[in-house]
Each structure stands twice: as structure tokens, then as C-alpha cells.
């Protein structure tokens, strides 16, 4: 957006504007689709953990401890796309 628009929303704590932006990003410009995409990613992640599989907990804790917040935020966005891709319901036109 213009960054000004988003920065003003942060300053005003206008959470509706900010989450709308996230939904638009995930939903290809469709806010409702974006909401569903967010849910889909979380559902896919949940499904993977139902059987309490062995996971690399040390890696997870180490990553959070060592990496800067910006990288973790970027990873968070990237993981969204990873999980929606696993759902086999890919709504985007191209590929990540």
C-alpha cells in the first residue's frame, strides 16, 4: 500500500486495516478468501501434529533464540504458503 497507509494504521493501532492487508495478501486481493487461507494453513499444521510426531524441538527453540525478529516474521509469512500448498487447494495463479 503505500507504506504510509500501513504505518499510519500501526500508529493508530488500527488492527482492522492491518489484518485486512494480511488477508488481502493471502487471498489475492479477496479478503474473505484470505481469511479462509489463514484458517487452511493452521488446519494443515494442526493435522501434522495430531499424532505427536517426533519433531526437532531444539532446532525450533534455537531458531527462535538466535534469529532476528524480522527473519522470523518473514519465515512466518513463508510458512503460511508452505502449509496452504500442502492442502492441495492452491488458490493462487502462479507458484511460490
Amino acid at each position: 500500500m503505500s507504506l504510509t497507509y500501513l504505518k499510519e494504521a500501526v500508529d493508530a493501532n488500527d488492527t482492522e486495516k492491518l489484518i485486512r492487508y494480511v488477508r488481502l495478501h493471502f487471498g489475492d486481493g479477496d479478503e474473505d478468501a484470505g481469511k479462509k487461507e489463514i484458517d487452511k494453513a493452521w488446519i494443515e499444521a494442526l493435522k501434522l501434529l495430531l499424532e505427536v510426531p517426533a519433531t526437532e524441538r531444539e532446532f525450533i527453540e534455537q531458531t527462535i533464540k538466535e534469529k532476528d525478529a524480522e527473519t522470523l516474521a518473514h519465515l512466518y509469512f513463508r510458512l503460511h504458503f508452505y502449509f496452504v500448498a500442502r492442502s492441495n487447494e492452491w488458490i493462487h495463479d502462479g507458484k511460490i
Binding site: 503505500s2 507504506l3 497507509y5 488481502l24 509469512f77 495463479d93 502462479g94 507458484k95 511460490i96
Partner: protein
């Protein structure tokens, strides 16, 4: 100017729609840039190509389509690349046609042929790609646009063709 329906763009109101969803992201200019002249015939000219379709060499860092504010980097694509050397990383336009024939979005083979046939003099050593989805128009103009223009200019093209997605 009246145009028949068939001559109108397929997705009407694109600028307004995108600008409504992402206020301030769409550029409006109020002035025109004076035209530069082509100093040689096309058959003697060097052509460069700049694309925002997200086409890049396989094995280079994929364009970042996850980032919510966009990707402000660019890639050089050697103009003698084969289409099998190239791949697309973007989420914002239908790639079904390009997956079958990359030339519909990135006509590298056609440009190579035109240069081989001497209809165009030659191709610049590299073409340049960046991503059209970026939400910080000011950052784009301030940094990336000048950096890409530097790279394009350094290869001394006589003419530049640009294509979005």
C-alpha cells in the same frame, strides 16, 4: 474515444480496484517524459528487455512472493538463455499459458530469432526481471528503478522493450 467491447481490457477497473484494496499503492503520474530518439535503424540496434513477470534463471534465489510488502530485488537473465533455463516465481497472474510456452509472457526465443534474422541488430547481453507486486511504490522508484536502469544502461542498448505481467 469510443472502443468496441472487444478492444477494452479484459479486467476493467484494475487500477481502481487495486488502489482501493491497497490505498496509495498504485502510481499516477501527471507529466510525460520527453521522447528519446532511436539513433540507428532497428536492424543495427541493440535491444534490451525488462520484465516484471517474475521470470528468472533456474537456480537463482526465487523472487519473494511470500513477503507482504514485496520484493525489491532484480535478476539478470542472459539473453541467450533457453526457456528450459528459466522459471517463474510469482502469484499474481495466470501462468497456464506461460507454463506451456514461456514466450507468451517472456518472448525470449522470438527476440533471439529476430536478432539472428537481423531484423533487430542484436540483443543486450542480459535482460532484467523484477516482480510487479510491490506495495511500496516510493521505495521502488527511489531505489530499484534506478538500480535496474543503471544495469540496463551499462550494457548500452539502443532501445528497451518493457513488459509487465
Amino acid at each position: 474515444m469510443e472502443k468496441s467491447n472487444e478492444e477494452k481490457q479484459l479486467r476493467p477497473g484494475l487500477w481502481a480496484t487495486v488502489n482501493e484494496r491497497y490505498p496509495g499503492s498504485m502510481i499516477t503520474k501527471t507529466d510525460f517524459i520527453p521522447l528519446a530518439k532511436l539513433i540507428k535503424p532497428l536492424a543495427e540496434s541493440r535491444l534490451s528487455f525488462v520484465s516484471t513477470s517474475g521470470v528468472q534463471l533456474r537456480g537463482t534465489l526465487p523472487f519473494d512472493t511470500a513477503h507482504p510488502i514485496g520484493d525489491y530485488t532484480f535478476r539478470a537473465v542472459p539473453s541467450n538463455s533457453k526457456t528450459s533455463d528459466l522459471e517463474i516465481h510469482q502469484l499474481k497472474y495466470p501462468t497456464a499459458g506461460a507454463e506451456r510456452d514461456l514466450n507468451v509472457i517472456y518472448p525470449i526465443e522470438r527476440m533471439q530469432e529476430l536478432a539472428a534474422e537481423k531484423i533487430i541488430g542484436e540483443l543486450a547481453p542480459n535482460f532484467y526481471s523484477f516482480i510487479g507486486y510491490n506495495m511500496d511504490a516510493e521505495r521502488l522508484e527511489r531505489t530499484l528503478a534506478e538500480t535496474i536502469a543503471d544495469a540496463v544502461e551499462a550494457e548500452k542498448p539502443d532501445v528497451v522493450l518493457l513488459a509487465p505481467a
